[in-house]
Symmetry: C2
Subunit: 508 residues, 2 copies
């Protein structure tokens, strides 16, 4: 070993040990969160939240220790940087960012926040079930207040909300997002109007009825298998709010929600979460035991869920192949429906109240509403207590409909109970990233549509693994999209895709 | 505050913080173990085991820290002891014992052991499934070797195996256990012989057949509810080897195993684990956040599982009340069976290979075999590789039958894969404790049998809560049985109970 090699190896070894321990604790906390959301007994929640708080604090301590700080200072020296592998260099970069960010938060505040958000999720569930926004307000006020404090501590970027945005999509700003969302609005609102005036509307009557829950489960599993989801490295459960959680590359779990009066909820929910899971299951095992073995940003993550859900799962080819299977699961219920009819039916555009049930087109309007409200909360000091009023007004303006209860309005989403302000834009970013990726995929896999129509979903999965999944957090979101398409993120691909799709469906 | 009060309050506060953190980490590890046994994906096991190792190490560090040692030294000073509450005094006593015990184990050895036993459980499951004892030997050898090392470090009591026994039943010795088991053998073996020669044998033909799994689930839940098991503070799942786990007083989980060709497996397995769970759910909430909020010993724990399983669940009165419900769950399958016939059928005595399926009488012989083998492993250096031979020989001698595969022989139990040597005797101790307790309960609740026969199981649960459950680890096992019966543990109550029961059933 050279002198430099020696100078590298010892701090690097210790640094990797600490990172590995942080990753291990995060994995264990992930198991506990999964458990809390999939059926942990009610009476244990209070103590469990405290326990989660204790372990989160320990993890936080590890990630802010002076020892880690000294190791990072050493590993950031130019002479040593030059000796690091690509993975180690990126790990040092990412850890330094996290370290600097976390060091600004007092440990007691961090612990308070963890316990608070852990309890708030149960409170939100109860509030949603009982249409009791007032019961949720005390939690929400505290969560917003602590987030405002975090922003002060981290430092306000051009606006306070920019500081939050950057957490989910590194480098993204409200200026950029205002522009992208402006472009989307400029093309999608007129499209939505054309559709509203269209004469030839899809028939959706066959989607009504009662669909056996066990059959929905079996079909969900079948589709996940077809997508290449590895059931030996994951499992499918039920929860109030569907989610995917990558505990490790070998354990990436999905939940879904079965509604007997709506077959599409579990169907597209499962494919959506399955897309997240494919990403996490196919990260290069070299990244295991590091904090790089996860998705690179929430926008890229949602690009995968939304791509599989919509560009694959709501495509005509997909239903040419899988409608017969679906019919076999619900004998007598869909007998006279053709693939074309089914495709048109599941793509009906209809302003609606619930984001996760929205069509591909108006979905983006749901996101913009949340984005605007979040900006008001953090840039204009909107009082959380006033959220229902603002929410209902915006829905009425943008979609022409108003929630009759808070449960189907401001209480519908879990995100804010966990403090995930700045997350919602990821979904529309995901739609844009996904459309831009598929544009390239279509050129590189010329028979992509035929493949999907014949049930060959794995080549697309392999292509995405090569382009996106394998890298985990090794590449930044901007690098990913640049490498694939040679361009930064643009809104035009999504607009083109939606215009083409809906002009055909609505015969405009 | 007086000077002494001040001298107490500060170290006591910090001591309770550390204990609370240990308890919280144990709770979280409990969730992860539960998850690993109830369906965690196979490909995640390796990393998960490492993560469990990391958190266990941290817990171990907490429980052996010099800070804790200094606090305990302080809190053990006579002047300060006098000021402590009963709970704190017992907590200090228990923690001091644990501290002294743990300090003797090198942290690296502890970590190695945790990772090893965590992986060994999966290896055992695979070995059992494939009847591959050889595949399990490497794990078993390492586990035994480390346990031998632990014994050296802790210090050999009168024999090496005594050191292990004391861990599960504080104060118990091989001398005492040899005597108790000798007494049991002297009365139960002749009873078993009389039964073997009896002419009037119970009919068990109605237990044959195929029993719908979903109906078994529903009935299991019904019985648990009747016992007073709180489903808001627990849940029922499935696992290869049934178990109960008290994560906190508000979250005590049970698993069971449904066999479609054997209705008794889930039935009595569920009641057994339900008994464990009643214990943990009914500990005084004052003990929450301390390491006293668990059962006081494995013997007392098993007394509750075995008492509910056998003295309640296999009693005539119980089936007078619940057979109609059982029949309703399996329409047409048990129509012509009377409560008396059912009672006799489920109490048939039949030498068999599988411990958890054994009748109440020969069950104790299964335990004695394991006890003798464990003594050979640790007091006579028996090589783990030779276990199948020794096992089969002992079964042939004691029960007159020989396993045809290791899966139904030496591989049948999970315990050794987790290193739980010294645990098995707890089951027969439990049978003895239970019989001695019920002897008193019958006198204090004169109409106990009538209550059970009318489905009033809650008064017995309340009596046991008052006598046993509420105390958690606040009282020692010897104190519990002395307080209840005014005597130390004796074998005669169990022998009397079994003789009475079986003389009636077999009309001897």
């Amino acid at each position: 070993m050279s002198t430099v090699e020696l100078a590298v190896s010892s701090p690097l070894k210790r640094f990797r040990e600490i990172i590995s321990q942080i990753k291990q604790y995060e994995e264990i906390l992930g198991v506990v969160y999964w458990d809390m959301r999939t059926g942990a007994p009610r009476k244990g929640i209070e103590l469990r939240s405290e326990a989660v708080g204790a372990l989160s604090s320990e993890t936080f301590k590890l990630s802010t220790s002076s020892e880690l700080g000294e190791l990072l200072a050493k590993l950031n020296e130019p002479e040593i940087q030059a000796e690091l592998s690509e993975i180690d260099r990126r790990l040092v970069e990412e850890s330094t960012k996290e370290y600097e960010r976390n060091r600004k938060i007092p440990p007691e505040l961090h612990r308070e926040y963890v316990v608070l958000t852990s309890q708030a999720e149960s409170a939100w569930e109860e509030a949603k079930e009982n249409n009791d926004f007032a019961g949720f307000v005390p939690y929400l006020e505290k969560i917003v207040a602590i987030n405002r404090r975090f922003i002060e501590l981290w430092g306000v970027k051009s606006t306070p909300y920019d500081t939050l945005l950057d957490m989910y999509e590194p480098g993204l700003t409200t200026v950029e997002l205002d522009r992208l969302f402006g472009e989307l609005r400029a093309r999608l609102v007129p499209l939505a109007e054309q559709i509203a005036n269209a004469k030839d509307k899809p028939d959706t009557s066959f989607l009504e009825g009662t669909f056996d829950k066990e059959a929905q489960k079996t079909f969900s599993k079948l589709i996940l298998k077809e997508m290449g989801y590895d059931f030996e490295a994951g499992r499918l459960d039920e929860s109030v709010h569907p989610f995917a959680t990558g505990l490790s590359i070998g354990d990436v779990r999905i939940t879904t929600r079965y509604l007997t009066d709506d077959i599409t909820s579990a169907l597209f929910g499962t494919i959506h979460e399955g897309g997240h899971a494919l990403y996490e299951q196919n990260i290069d095992p070299e990244l295991a035991r590091t904090t790089l073995s996860t998705g690179t940003s929430m926008g890229i993550h949602e690009s995968q869920s939304r791509l599989w859900e919509n560009m694959v799962g709501r495509s005509l080819g997909f239903w040419k192949r899988y409608l017969p299977d679906l019919k076999a699961h619900f004998p007598g219920q869909l007998d006279n429906v053709t693939a074309e009819q089914f495709y048109r039916g599941i793509n009906v555009v209809q302003p609606s109240l619930i984001r996760i049930e929205a069509d591909e087109l108006t979905y983006n309007l749901h996101i913009m509403i949340r984005y605007e409200i979040e900006k008001m909360l953090f840039n204009e000091d909107l009082n959380p207590r006033d959220l229902p009023e603002v929410w209902n007004k915006k829905y009425s303006e943008a979609l022409g409909i108003t929630p009759s209860t808070d449960s189907e309005g401001v209480l519908q989403d879990v995100h804010w109970s966990g403090g995930a302000f700045g997350y919602f834009p990821s979904y529309s970013l995901g739609n844009m990233y996904g459309a831009q990726m598929v544009d390239v995929a279509r050129r590189e896999i010329p028979d992509l549509d035929d493949q999907i129509a014949s049930g060959q979903l794995l080549p697309l999965k392999e292509w995405l693994t090569k382009q996106v999944y394998q890298y985990g957090k090794l590449l930044q979101p901007a690098e990913i999209i640049e490498r694939i398409s040679g361009k930064p993120l643009q809104s035009s691909y999504l607009c083109d895709y939606l215009e083409n799709k809906y002009r055909e469906i609505y015969r405009l």
